[in-house]
Every structure is written in C-alpha cells, then in structure tokens.
Symmetry: C2
Subunit: 147 residues, 2 copies
Amino acid sequence: MLEGKNFVYLATVNPDGTPQVTPTWVDTDGKFVLVNTAIGRVKHRNVKKNPNVALAITDQNNPYNLVVIRGKVVDQLTGRVADEHIDKMAKKYRGLDKYPNRSPGEQRVILKIEPTRVISARTAQSYLVSPYPDFFVLVNLSRSEIS
Amino acid sequence: MLEGKNFVYLATVNPDGTPQVTPTWVDTDGKFVLVNTAIGRVKHRNVKKNPNVALAITDQNNPYNLVVIRGKVVDQLTGRVADEHIDKMAKKYRGLDKYPNRSPGEQRVILKIEPTRVISARTAQSYLVSPYPDFFVLVNLSRSEIS
C-alpha cells in the first residue's frame, strides 16, 4: 500500500487540540513511513509540538482495501536528502523528474514516522494482520476499534 | 464532492491527545456534513469528548481535487433516522438496498458536523472558494495553510 501510488491521509493535532488532516504522497524505507512536506506547513508545525500522527491509506483501485497506522514522528530529515526525496515522489506519483510545485525559498523535510500500531483491512468485514511483520506488532481487532 | 461516491477521511482526537483517522462514507443535507457510524466506535467515543473534527475528501477520479473541512459535531441522531440513513449510504456507495455490515446489537448514529472552515483545491496549485457559499466562509489561503 505504501509503495503504490496511493495517497495517505495524515492526521495531526493542532496546538488548540483540534485535529487536522490532509492527503499527501507517501513512501517507506521498509521500516519507517516517510512523508515529505515543507518546513513551516501546518503538519510540520504540529508534529514539532505533538509528534503523534495517524495515517489512513486506501488502495486507489479499491477503497475498501485500507490500512490505518498510528505512529510517531521520530526524526526529520532536511536538506539535499529531502530535496531528492520529493523529486523521487514526483516521479512515483506523476512520472516527473523534478517536483514541479516548489515555492521560492521552500525547504523540504522528510517526516520519519515510526508505526506503533497498524490495522489492515482487506474488505469492510475482515480485518487482517499487517503485511509488514518485520516492524509491526500483530493486530487482530474488532471492527469497532477502527471505525 | 460530498455528493459523489467519494470517501471522506475523518480525523478526531483520542482522549490521550493523539490523532485518529478513518475513511468513511459521507453525506450532506446541504448545510451539515453527515457521517454515519455506530455507537461506541472510536470516532463516536472521541467526538463525545472532543467534538472537533477534520475531514479531507478527494475526488475518486482525481486525487488532486480535494476539499478539506474543519468542523464540529453539533448534534447526533440515533434510532430510525440513523438506520434509514445507513441504508441510504449503502445505496449510494454500493447500490444495495440495505446496509450489509450490521453487527448484532449495533446502534447507528449520524454525526452532524457543522463546517467551520473549508478549503477547496481544484489542482495542487490553486485554492478556490468553497462550492457551498450558503454556509461556508470564503477562504483564500496559501498552500502552506493546508499542507
């Protein structure tokens, strides 16, 4: 799911305790979930204060195939690695060699998210264990726990 | 967007201050955003304690066409109206006359969400005013405010 061209819906908490959610491109290094944003944007400001995040990903070809992840931003990578990474994301999602939406002075940042809990659903009825056994604790929850 | 077969990604805040997000069906009565869930599920428990929510909706045919809504659960409707409404949702999204996923003893509830802020994006670059002028304040924000 993280490797497909699926959007992830990333939720953070605003300083006033209200939630915030935006769709974004997503990547993984096999261990962490990687989200590339720009320094100063709402989600970046929020995770500096409260590193807890939640992500929902649905398969673009089947919205009933979903993964929900709770996790924490454990590191932030800036500079060249983040610039190259947003170009890699533009390639993955848009087939472009360069990310086309840079604003003047924009500084990219990779949010490195450690998943703490993952729920994977193959259908609306059956909730299966995460497909990432190397770093995810097994989960086997009733439907009521995710919706 | 709310009237199409698009999923909405609804974010709430857990009692411990971490965010929670799940995709869900969505509806509108023209004034409020309506989300139908079951009593006792995470999102229902969360909005009882903290009624603030955020929603992101992308067009299923174009993920770059997005609407982000911040709002508050101002009312909850249960009983027959909520039961009939989930059947209506099953019709809209699945073409079914009856919602097929009811658990024994499940009680449906409609979360009536008053939007307090809406951001609509036709493309990744241009952010336009909400298509619901009757109840949404005009917004004209820079990209940095939503991502």
